[in-house]
């Protein structure tokens, strides 16, 4: 069964035809060639496939594992992937902070972590260590040991606060 779907990704409108049993993750990577969103476990455990989504009628973007969303569900939704985090060649403060602190090693988990950390800072601009750890429970990193990721999120929170000042 195929579905004709209209939705936006990073502000761009798309019309695609997707199979019932395909996931948003598959659509992003295989049909739209947005391969920054990674396929790690396809079981909702690793967080590498996280994207931001605003459902029709919802007031804000929320992170979801795109491996857990069926393609036909996203009709009318707005989606932000890692490719949409930077604007006009201006990196998101989180991306800057990940570079400066060396929070990335192999990089496979990084897009999902950036997406989830961005969602965290949007709902809680000044998170504690414990709140950052809790927010990133569903993002597995096998390289870094997480310490620099925590440092990066804290640095980005400071940068964002200073930008608002």
């Amino acid at each position: 069964m195929n579905h004709t779907l209209h939705f936006t990704v990073n502000g761009e409108p798309y019309e695609i035809v997707a199979a019932s049993h395909h996931t948003l993750l598959q659509v992003l990577r295989e049909q739209l060639a947005l391969t920054g969103t990674k396929n790690g476990c396809e079981a909702g455990e690793c967080g590498a496939c996280a994207v931001l989504i605003r459902w029709p009628g919802a007031d804000r973007f929320e992170p979801v594992n795109s491996c857990m969303v069926l393609a036909p569900e996203v009709a009318g939704a707005e989606i932000v992937t890692i490719e949409g985090l930077a604007h006009d060649d201006q990196l998101d403060p989180l991306q800057e902070a990940f570079i400066v602190t060396g929070a990335t090693q192999c990089g496979f988990c990084t897009p999902g972590i950036l997406i989830n950390a961005r969602a965290l800072l949007d709902r809680n601009p000044d998170p504690s260590d414990a709140e950052i750890r809790a927010a990133l429970v569903g993002n597995l990193c096998r390289c870094t040991g997480y310490i620099r990721i925590l440092d990066a999120v804290k640095m980005a929170a400071r940068t964002r606060k200073e930008a608002l000042r």
């Binding site: 019932s20 079981a43 909702g44 857990m68 569903g138």
Partner: protein
Amino acid sequence: MQPFDYLIPGDHAEASALLAAGNGRVRPFMGGTDLLIRTRGGFVRPQAVVDLKGLPGMKEIRPGDDGWLIIGAACTMNQVAMHPLVQARYDLLVQACNSVASYQLRNRATIGGNCCNASPAADTAPALYCLEAVAEIYGPQGIRRIPIAQFFVGPGKTALRSGEFLTSLHLPPSPQDARGVFNKLGRTKMGDISVVSVAVYRRSGRLADPTAPATGEWRIALGAVGPTPLRAAEAEAALMQDTSPAGIRVAAALAAAAARPIDDIRASAAYRRAMVAVLARRGIEAVLADLSAARAQLPAAGGAS
């Protein structure tokens, strides 16, 4: 994933008819966090999934009559945990919802799905057992309501019959002086499936006067230590008599005795039983501490103890 169709029913009756006609090969679909994993693994092979989320009321949290609260079955864990009416009176359920997996998975996983999968380890179940929630079911014969403890029938088995689906969970009024604590053990501190979980809930009835005779109720529910979640009735009764440190130890032991755990990949039965006693004791102590803190904040007239 093997192909299946995705169907959006126009109303409750159509959803019911689709499910009934599918004879088990047509699956209700909400957050998909369990169904998609099991489909990928080949454990279930649906011909079609019926997305129930768009049906009226399924994603709503609203006050019912007489102080009840109605939570639509397709409300996500985050939606439940962040809702002011849930936070105001059902903190136990907030704790349980927040203990499920990760933030972004809680944006998909639904409270109804958690019940319908009927895992003995379902994290919201011990809280719903303590709150004595009522499950509202829609089916070919119309609407029926059953206590949550009758909804869970066995591992992966619910009271749902052909063509039926869960529409909402109804929570009885929870008084202002009620307190609950949910504790769970997983392989990791956060985010993992429960190896054992215990919810403790106290409807005090005597917050203002701790010297009054014991009234109200203690309720204790256990997760992941039986074919369904379980209430520990003898432990509850014991606490009505004695909440001294010795009484708490007795109640915790009775809670462990009520468990019917099995050995499996995550833990041995003996370990699970021993941990029920520990989590029950911690839960009871935390509830008592909460109540005594609440008492201390009352105006001096009522809180002098």
